[in-house]
Amino acid sequence: MKPVFASWDGVTSHWESVPSRDHARQNPLGGKPEAVAGGSLLYRNHCQQCHGADARGDGQKKPSLHTESVRSATDGDLEWFLRQGDLRHGMPSWSSLPQGQRWQIIAYLRSLP
């Protein structure tokens, strides 16, 4: 396995680190309005401080989630990354959140314009 990528930035090749089994997973809550609503609340409580209310970061230290890298990732890639985190660069592992809540966050991210 290649080294884990550093962030959600524009380097699409870093998703190659994701095991194929995780890469192929689909969000069981994808497209469900109640999942998006739950994900919105979870995003506000857990993610907003560093990614901003609109998930666009601040263009400097706070990373945007509106990137080609995130758009090109599969749901499974994103769930794997939330579970793994990137401790070396300050991103905690969110394995301690119930798996359903990680899927809710991803459903919300997918709903962003």
Binding site: V4, A6, S7, W8, D9, V11, L29, E34, A35, A37, G38, G39, S40, L41, L42, N45, H46, C47, Q49, C50, G57, Q60, K61, K62, P63, S64, R83, Q84, G85, D86, L87, R88, H89, G90, M91, P92, S93, W94, S95, S96, L97, P98, Q99, G100, Q101, Q104
Partner: protein, 283 residues
């Protein structure tokens, strides 16, 4: 690219487990400071009621390193209230990825007196009789102790399972003492309802922990050791505040029959901005 890797932090207390003795592999988010009070209320047989309070300052120095300072004290009925010392602990995650079992290394220095009654761990042949010594006598015993823990922790679906192996040594004398703590917990509801609420099931985490002594290098035996079972419940009052409660029950003759614990935690975000020396520093 570096600019995007800085301050990639999610703040919240929602993930914290309600254990009082057991540690999971959750660390404090970098830059955040959590202040928590942990109290222990009990009455040992042939002793007086006491209430012990540990005030914990927990800071996320890095995503893989959390450092904590405890200030301990206790009050015993028909006796006195005393400050019993401090503890400084550090937890490190040596492996930076998530695995089925995640190790954390724990190193602690304690400068406490024999009057300490917080029972934040049980090691060696710790017993109920240690808690009935009058404060005037027990506070004259000064302990400079080092403590090591190997924390193994797993998140399996919605469950957390944690195992701690403890080795403690009085730096002046006495043998190595050993102990353990085991915990399992899960949220009452796995999915977020999407609405702000206080009493809804997703705000609660329930579980149970067990802990006790495993003897010491002079007598590596379970004889005359204390062991406890304690249901735990955590309640997320807000995104920053958490209340925990645990009734503990002694299961051996040398254990205290019942210990009631209450914890209240509040998390302050981005405290590192007060200390950051230069902009753009990678944490």
């Amino acid at each position: 690219m570096l600019a995007f890797t800085v301050c990639l932090v999610f703040p919240a207390v929602a993930q914290d487990k309600p254990y009082f003795v057991t540690y999971s592999h959750d660390l404090e988010e970098p830059g955040n400071l959590e202040i928590e009070t942990k109290s222990a209320l009990a009455r040992p047989e042939r002793g007086h009621h006491f209430g012990a309070l540990a005030t914990e300052l927990e800071y996320g120095a890095r995503a893989w390193w959390t450092t904590e300072l405890y200030l301990d004290g206790q009050a015993t009925a028909d006796d006195s209230a005393v400050y019993t010392g401090f503890r400084w602990e550090n937890r490190f995650r040596p492996l930076l990825h998530e695995y089925p079992v995640n190790p954390v290394l724990y190193v602690e220095f304690e400068n406490i007196t024999g009057a300490d009654k917080n029972i934040l761990e049980v090691v060696g042949h710790d017993a109920e009789s240690d808690l009935v010594v009058p404060n005037a006598v027990s506070r004259s015993e000064h302990k400079h102790e080092g403590e090591l823990k190997l924390i193994l922790s797993s998140n399996i679906h919605d469950w957390n399972v944690s195992e701690n192996f403890i080795a403690e040594k009085n730096l002046g004398h006495a043998p190595w003492e050993f102990g353990y703590a085991l915990g399992i917990a899960r949220p009452l509801r796995s999915l977020s309802s999407g609405r702000e609420c206080i009493f809804c099931a997703e705000k609660f985490i329930a579980g149970i922990e067990g802990y006790g002594g495993l003897g010491d290098t002079w007598a590596l035996t379970l004889h005359d050791t204390s062991h406890y079972l304690a249901p735990v419940m955590g309640w997320e009052l807000s995104a920053h505040m958490r209340l925990s409660f645990s009734p503990g029950f002694g299961v051996t003759g040398t254990s205290v029959d019942q210990i009631y614990r209450v914890g209240l935690a509040y998390e302050f975000k981005d405290m590192d901005k007060m200390f950051r020396s230069r902009r753009g520093e990678v944490r």
